[in-house]
């Protein structure tokens, strides 16, 4: 621990937050191994335990240091980075991780397709080898932040003649490459937070392939497990997240309180606190390893509580709950589950049980992979992808 404190002190001594440019400071922090301390030396970390991170974050925040606006780059931090670290080449790690962490380069996730959501392995976006490149054509959908992104993690079909899970390869796609067409999709909140992305003969160098050809499904699991923890399992202080917002609303409106809403709020407060503790326990169990299917339970609980709490808040606000701040189709720079007003929070929370794997799919994962229940009979597992009914 004292080594970490020494490094923090050295970083601050060499880069006074009051006078150093934000980006310069973030780069220096990365190079000092204080970005994500559990990452390897040379890649923004110092191979320390994950639970040392809050020590660094708090010490730097106390010194007035800028942060990397983690909400703006959630997909990069939560999904792309752990996947590239686990499965990427050394060149890929060195090229991508630093600007990803500093926020110089925003990432998005080109996984879902119109015909492949819960059944992601059915995806049909094709990648064909052409010399040193791959040529990619297909349609992706619900792509959050594609409009801000420099890079994407992409799964595409490289072999249609084998069963669906076997013929997928994982790539890093340049969102500025010719043939990438990003079109806004408006959400029920009014915002266009996600997009349709059309890929037409997009050339991706083989050097941007992550892992072996045909290993994409297994690698995507790393991304998805991390995504679920990123959405549902983030460390939060007591009353962090949705419960804190709703508790503040309660405190601000004594005139609206009733016995019935009081009891519901406290019930949800207790559940939120217990879920927070479950997250701490999970991270303690996983201090060394990477997230497994248990992370799914966190996201399941997170989504349920976010929805129940935001629904209660709208109801509690009564005549104010009937109002909405703004339906304008905006292009938000970040995804903020607890931002804006109660109506927005209520509507946006509906996505929490769909994005990153639906709650139904997460229950299947818990039932099958945690509890070991038999899977549903499958008609589609051993059939070559090209022969699947569609």
């Amino acid at each position: 621990m004292s080594e970490i404190q020494d490094r923090v002190a050295a970083l601050l001594a060499a880069n006074d937050p009051a006078t150093t440019d934000r980006l310069e400071f973030l780069r220096a922090r990365f190079d000092a191994g204080l970005a994500w301390v559990h990452f390897p030396v040379g890649l923004g970390g110092m191979a320390a335990p994950r639970d040392a991170q809050p020590v660094v974050d708090q010490a730097l925040a106390a010194a007035g240091a800028p942060d990397n606006s983690p909400r703006r780059i959630g997909i990069g931090l939560g999904m792309a980075a752990p996947t590239i670290l686990a499965h990427g080449t050394d060149e890929q790690r060195l090229r991508f991780l630093r600007p990803l962490w500093t926020g110089e380069e925003v990432w998005c996730q080109l996984f879902s397709e119109p015909g492949a959501g819960s059944d992601l392995a059915a995806l049909g976006t094709r990648a064909r080898r052409d010399g040193d490149d791959w040529v990619v054509t297909g349609q992706k959908v619900w792509t959050s932040s594609a409009h801000n992104a420099r890079w994407a993690i992409l799964v595409a079909r490289t072999d249609p003649d084998v069963p669906k899970h076997a013929g997928i390869t994982y790539f890093v796609c340049d969102m500025t490459a010719p043939g990438v067409d990003v079109r806004p999709l408006r959400q029920i909140t009014g915002e266009a937070e996600f997009n349709e992305v059309f890929l037409t003969d997009v050339r991706i160098p083989d050097a941007h392939r992550v892992g072996e050809v045909g290993a994409g499904w297994r690698i995507a699991q790393t991304t998805l497990m991390n995504e679920r923890v990123a959405i549902g399992g983030r460390p939060v202080p007591r009353e962090g997240g949705m419960v804190g917002v709703v508790a503040d609303t309660w405190r601000a409106h004594p005139e609206r309180r009733t016995a019935a809403t009081h009891d519901r709020l406290l019930e949800l407060w207790v559940e939120s606190e217990a879920l927070r503790l479950a997250g701490i326990r999970l991270r303690q169990q996983l201090a060394a390893g990477s997230p497994g299917p248990e992370g799914s339970a966190m996201k399941l609980g997170f989504a349920r509580l976010a929805q129940a709490l935001s629904g209660l808040e709208v109801e509690f606000l009564a005549e104010d709950g009937l109002r909405y701040d703004d339906w304008t189709q905006r292009r938000p720079a970040m995804v903020d589950f607890t931002g804006r007003d109660a109506g927005y929070r209520y509507l946006r929370a509906k996505g929490n049980s769909i994005e990153g794997g639906t709650s139904e799919v997460l229950r299947n994962i818990i039932a099958e992979r945690v509890l070991g229940l038999p899977t549903e009979p499958r008609v589609d597992k051993d059939v070559p992808w090209k022969d699947l009914p569609r």
């Binding site: 959400q187 709950g321 009937l322 509906k350 549903e376 699947l388």
Partner: protein, 351 residues
């Protein structure tokens, strides 16, 4: 007590449903939500007599009752059509029928029935039990922007105000198909109506809550029908997603809750018509149907997956209406609190 639909009610439903499927299909409603009430459709509903069913023939109405009004509300809920039915045909009209000894009230009822005029009751849409006072700014009033005449309770007396003399400020509404507005009548000339104003407003809130339960049933029915159709058609893992038992059980539960909600809503409509057991029937229906409708709309979004989160699919219009209806004219919690003493289940211990 008749909890079924009569043949006349079924005929009425068929003609309203015809009009709405023609003029207010979900895609049509979605395309025009940012342009306020659909006055042309509203005029047609008035010409059909659908806006004055519970007004007696002597007062220019159809001489039917709240049972029929509830059937129209159900169909309007199924289509989330942007018409000022609740504000004008239910709430304002109910107040006026209670004060029909006053000639100005009678004259206005006639104009409302003929579709010449639209009215709104100036109380926050969230009102329940106590009668708010219409002096100063009144926030979140349903259908006020579409109204020509405002019906305003002031210190126990109901006043009529020409909407052009008041300040009516539309506000951005969570429910985009039933817009609300803030109203201020300060300084406007008013016509006071003779008769017990607070009783009239209270009775209108009860009637409104009872009729809303039927709207909620229609809304939930659309959500169930639309979801079931989608689960049959959407394939993942090489099969219709509706073939997964987990999802079958979800829609089976929705169907079951709708069976119960419909019975409660019909009971409220029947009680409002006969005047028997009104308070219990309305609070049972409004507390139960509010929850059933929100749940149906939430399940509709969830079971559509990503499509359900998009603006281009109409599910969100139903979600927003369901959530606003839950608050409108008393939340489920407030209706349960109303019910408690009526069914001898008080919260406080008796001394």
């Amino acid at each position: 007590m008749n909890l079924l639909y009569t043949d006349i009610e079924e005929d009425l439903r068929a003609s309203v449903a015809d009009l709405l499927s023609d003029r207010a299909a979900p895609a049509t409603v979605l395309a025009r939500i940012e342009s306020g009430a659909d006055t042309a459709l509203w005029g047609e509903l008035a010409r059909m007599g659908a806006t004055s069913l519970h007004v007696s023939e002597g007062l220019g109405g159809q001489g039917a009752g709240y049972r029929e009004t509830a059937v129209v509300a159900e169909e309007l809920g199924r289509s989330v059509a942007p018409v000022p039915f609740l504000g004008s045909a239910v709430l304002a009209t109910a107040v006026l029928t209670h004060l029909a000894d006053d000639p100005a009230a009678r004259a206005l009822l006639g104009r409302l029935a003929r579709g010449e005029t639209t009215a709104a009751l100036v109380v926050p849409l969230s009102s329940w039990e106590s009668v708010p006072d219409g002096r100063g700014l009144v926030r979140s009033v349903a259908d006020a922007a579409a109204a020509d005449v405002l019906v305003v309770p002031v210190a126990g007396v109901v006043h009529l105000v020409d909407a052009r003399d008041a300040v009516v400020t539309p506000v951005t509404s969570l429910d985009q198909t039933r817009p609300i507005a803030d109203v201020d009548i300060t300084g406007a000339p008013t016509t006071p109506l003779a008769g017990p104003g607070d009783d009239a407003v209270r009775a209108a809130l009860v009637a409104g809550a009872g009729i809303l339960a039927s709207e909620q049933v229609g809304l939930a029915q659309w959500c169930l029908d639309t979801t079931v159709a989608y689960l049959k058609e959407r394939h993942q893992f090489g099969r219709p997603v509706g073939s997964f038992q987990a999802l079958k059980h979800r829609v089976a539960d929705l169907w079951q809750s709708l069976v119960v909600a419909r019975a409660a809503a019909r009971h409220a409509a029947d009680a409002l018509t006969t005047g028997v057991d009104v308070d219990i029937a309305v609070s049972v229906a409004k507390s139960l149907c509010s929850t059933a409708a929100v749940r149906a709309a939430e399940e509709c979004v969830q079971l559509h997956g990503g499509i359900g989160m998009t603006w281009e699919h109409p599910a969100h219009l139903y979600l927003k209406r369901a959530k606003a209806d839950e608050i409108a004219l008393g939340t489920p919690g407030r209706h349960r609190a109303t019910l408690a003493p009526l069914v001898d289940l008080p919260l406080q211990s008796t001394p």
